[in-house]
Amino acid sequence: MLRVASVDKRFSAEGPLVLDDLDLSVGQGEFVSLLGPSGCGKTTLLKIVAGLLPPTAGKVFLEGKESSEPSRDKAMVFQHFNLLPWRTTINNVAYGLEVQGVAKAERLEKAAQFLQLLDLEGYENHYPSQISGGMKQRVGLARALATEPRLMLMDEPFGALDALTREYLQDELAKIAASQNLTVLFVTHSIDEAIYLSDRIVVMGNNPGRILLEYPVPFERPRTTTVVRADPRFAELRNQVWLLLEEEKAGR
């Protein structure tokens, strides 16, 4: 569904190589996590896929067609939520639809529907400054989901939340991803989070950013964090990934 083919990235002509010959593919309905230490270029890769940054070399294909610009097929969820503070919750959720020219009545109806999906009923007319961080990111999720994209791109969406809220939202995302059959490319630096959520984990290394290894996650979806954590395979996989990252760090 998504294919990233030999992508290189430098931020300036003489600058260091940030991404080195990266290949990646994501299948329809698959949930893939990009996991790596900070500075490994995972967010850069996500922004290249989103079309927000141009690659220095290589191409991005979405369903066989080149996709180097932002498009309606893709929607992004941001680490710092990036809600528009002057818009109420419902108008934030409707923003993507508004940009795409959906009529007002229709986009508000759809926004209300997605607010409901994310348990935000009753907060339609609140401004972002009036709701908690966890609720803000639910609005961010609803905003991306409301445009019904074929590919969801999520940039450490729970990284700025406290541990409890984070876990709660992970379960919620797992549920929605399964029920809506989402295709997701998810950036994280938490091994646990990657295991809870994904079908496959792509581990990246530093200097230059590149793919080290991929791990399939053996758990059936839908799943919850509690069930996954209790499974002995969780600890085993977690350990493997951890050792790989340690080895990579020691190697330089």
Binding site: L52, P70, H80, L84, G96, V99
Partner: protein
């Protein structure tokens, strides 16, 4: 963000002190000026009489207020249109900013009154000079603040628009402009006070019409009581316009009010 502290309820004591202080001031003014020459000072009682006379008997003051207000709104309106346009351009284009920035900084710092002689040479002693001076006085703070506001818009918010494939125009109107609004309003407020100085300055120094014109004409004739009447009108006009601006601003910035 913290909630605004609710205003403390005023007690009768507060009001008594406030009104008492005003009475003391007025009485002191009355007593100290009564014995003086009317050409040098006017007691409040005479100003009150002159106020009645000029406002409700002769009525000249209203037509002159209209003259001043009209010039003010024409000039300030034009300054807003130009200021927002140029400011947006400078905020979005590095080249435009680089080229224009020195002029904006220089003209922002220059007291507009200093330009009156050159305007007289170019336009003659003419009513247009007043509108031009209002524009020159107020356009630069508007440009400067709009440019700064637009330039400092959080790139992450712009990325939201881009990720949904918004056009440049849609990003400008739905993200950049609202995000820059707090600084734009700061520019509008500074521009407003500069514009008031500009219009009254031009009236007193050059065109000798409008409320400023009345002030200088009465002063030239040593009609001290009359002179204070247009000054009262100028102050009232300024207060009303500023209040209107604040009202306008709260409508636009409702989202900053913190309440559950």
């Amino acid at each position: 963000m913290a909630r605004l502290k609710p205003e403390r309820r005023r007690t009768i004591f507060d009001w008594t002190i406030r009104i008492g202080f005003a009475i003391v001031l007025l009485v002191a003014w009355e007593l100290s000026t009564r014995a003086q020459s009317r050409a040098l000072a006017a007691p409040p009682s005479e100003i009150l009489r002159a106020f009645w006379e000029l406002t409700f008997v002769e009525g000249v003051i209203f037509s002159e207020t209209l003259v001043t207000a009209r010039a003010f709104f024409m000039g300030y309106g034009a300054a807003i249109a130009i200021g927002l346009g140029v400011g947006m351009l400078m905020g979005r284009s590095r080249l435009a900013e680089y080229v224009l920035e020195p002029y904006v900084t220089l003209m922002y710092a220059l007291p507009s009154i200093a330009l009156i002689p050159v305007l007289v040479i170019w336009f003659g002693i003419n009513d247009r000079i007043r509108v031009v001076l209002v524009i020159l006085a107020s356009v630069f703070p508007i440009i400067y603040n709009t440019a700064t506001g637009v330039k400092n818009v959080d790139e992450e918010l712009v990325e939201v628009g881009r990720s949904f494939c918004a056009t440049r125009r849609k990003i400008a109107t739905s993200i950049v402009l609202p995000a820059a609004l707090p600084l734009i309003f700061a520019g509008l407020r500074i521009g407003l006070s500069h514009a008031l100085v500009g219009v009254i300055g031009a009236e007193i120094i050059v065109v000798i019409t409008g409320l400023g014109g009345l002030v200088i004409r009465y002063a030239d004739n040593f009609q001290m009581a009359n002179m204070f009447v247009p000054i009262i009108f100028i102050a009232t006009l300024a207060v009303l316009i500023t209040a209107g601006m604040n009202r306008f601003q709260t409508v636009f910035r409702r989202w900053e009010v913190q309440d559950e």
